[in-house]
Symmetry: C2
Subunit: 318 residues, 2 copies
């Protein structure tokens, strides 16, 4: 189970009635933040999910509306008493930008690890002391607490999309466990994928687990043109969060010029990617009522939601 | 005449119901901003005084609550169509911090001039193309559109206070002008301090102007302990804007430790500096109702105002 909160739904500039696009994910007591424009820490304070347990911050690109809230947030996380390191992931070139942004911070009580990626998959395990990461080559690996995959997008600065996958362990077969005379107090360990030893015998999880089960997949794509690689990257996501900078399909010229998308382009990606649900965000400040354009997306992909600041959702295993 | 708006009244961290301390000054169609914490551009958007005509940004010190809104604001000013340079003034070491903060900005359509100062006085003249500055040695010089003076304060990072002085030209004596047979259409030029030529005669302003008149003085002091140099620096200000991080005088221990002031300490400075009015700001996030502590200041300096976001005031020649 995973909770998510869309902290803001705006693009370009922070506005009095709309925070900048940013997503906070809560999973097993740990948190991941995607993007951090100016004001994100204020939106987080309204949400009241706390600051201390943010282990990973994913940055899509260096533009101000996605990154300028970072130094203030890092200072506030420091004030929350965190001492475990924070991992910040971003596209190539982001480390130098972040190092510049945090020059003003005199002291942080935790370390920052910066990781630049392009097209990648990283296995993440959460520990009390922070996270352990490892590069992987299969998004659907059943090991690890979480797989974070990234995809290079097509924007006016190096930009990456994110996909988060929470694997689900295969189904436990109690008949097999009974057949092997495994005591019930060890079943939970095997179910978690752990090897156990009982009366000198080594019992492997595969002896009692069968079939693979789909985990939870969440994808986050902004800012970009709708490139060919996206449908495969977001494939079968439970939730596809996508930029919809322009609601009006007649703004396609602006979308092409500024390397963004219209609602209908985002919906087409959702359709091709066979996702379960599409959540639109990153609205142009010029678009006061994004809800008024929902039909431009819904006629292509009916299961479309127009995002708004503070939108909360829980994703569960299906 | 000078208009000012207290954009925010908070210190430390931006809060959902309180912007960070920042002051916008409007004078003769030009603007000066003092401090720019995260969210300042949003407070400016609510104020609706526009972004394009900000010629000078004064930064007190490098702490996040005074500077982290700068890159976003500079980008938004760029979007407003400004092409004239902007002068940014700050304490020693600020240039490197600002250069780091603006690394993420790909392009600005105007130049930024960075000026580091400690104890100084600078004469400013506003032009269509930006500002012209010159170091001066007398705060009360009658030349120039504005004198910006700075004072080194006592905080946990290099920090400076600001005093803005708008000189007032001496009084025009129409009897003398009549005596010299100066035609009325030239009186305005002489009144402005300009030398004019009429029928081959050079007429100097001092021939028709007499006596010096006090201009408008505005002082801004945050973050600091109440050092001895402050009363003289703020002397006879029409408005003294001062930090009052702690309303409760029992928080003096925290004030000393964190290098801030209580309401009563700020009021004592206002009293010693013989200012006309005191406006308190930069309230600790822990202080929800600063108004509740007004007596701690007012019993020392009765003419005290507790600042709030969006507080607007006009200062005129007295």
């Amino acid at each position: 189970m995973l909770d998510l909160a869309l902290l803001g739904s705006g693009g370009s500039m922070p506005m009095p009635d709309r925070f900048l696009s940013s997503l906070l994910i809560r999973y097993n007591g740990r948190k991941i933040l995607i993007d951090c424009g100016e004001g994100t820490q204020v939106a987080m304070r309204i949400l009241k999910w706390g600051f201390k347990s943010i282990d990973i911050i994913c940055i899509t690109h260096k533009h101000g509306d996605h990154i300028l809230g970072l130094p203030g947030l890092l200072a506030t996380i420091g004030n929350s008493g965190r001492t475990e390191p924070i991992l910040i992931i971003g596209p190539n070139g982001i480390a130098k930008i972040i190092e510049g942004l945090i020059l003003s911070l005199s002291y942080l009580p935790y370390d920052i690890k910066l990781m630049e990626v392009s097209n990648s998959s990283t296995r993440v395990n959460f520990f009390q002391e922070g996270v352990e990461i490892e590069e992987v080559y299969n998004n659907y690996s059943s090991n690890g607490d979480l797989i974070i995959s990234t995809l290079e997008l097509d924007h006016s600065a190096p930009c990456i999309g994110y996909s988060l996958y929470i694997p689900r362990s295969p189904k436990f077969n109690p008949e097999k466990a009974t057949y092997y005379n495994i005591p019930k107090n060890l079943w939970k360990n095997l179910q978690r994928g752990e090897t156990v030893t009982y009366e000198g015998n080594i019992i492997e999880p595969h002896m009692v687990l069968e079939g693979s089960r789909k985990g939870i997949k969440l994808s986050y794509i902004t800012d970009t043109r709708p490139i060919r690689a996206i449908p495969d990257f977001i494939k079968e996501s439970d939730l596809f969060i996508c930029e919809g900078t322009y609601g009006d399909s007649e703004d396609i010229g602006k979308a092409i010029e500024n390397k963004h998308m219209t609602f209908s382009e985002a919906a087409q990606l959702a359709y091709e990617g066979k996702v379960r649900e599409l959540l639109l965000t990153h609205f142009s400040p010029a678009m006061e009522e994004p809800q008024g354009y929902i039909e431009n997306a819904a006629k292509i992909f009916p299961n479309t939601i127009i995002g708004c600041d503070g939108y909360i959702k829980t994703l569960t295993y299906s």
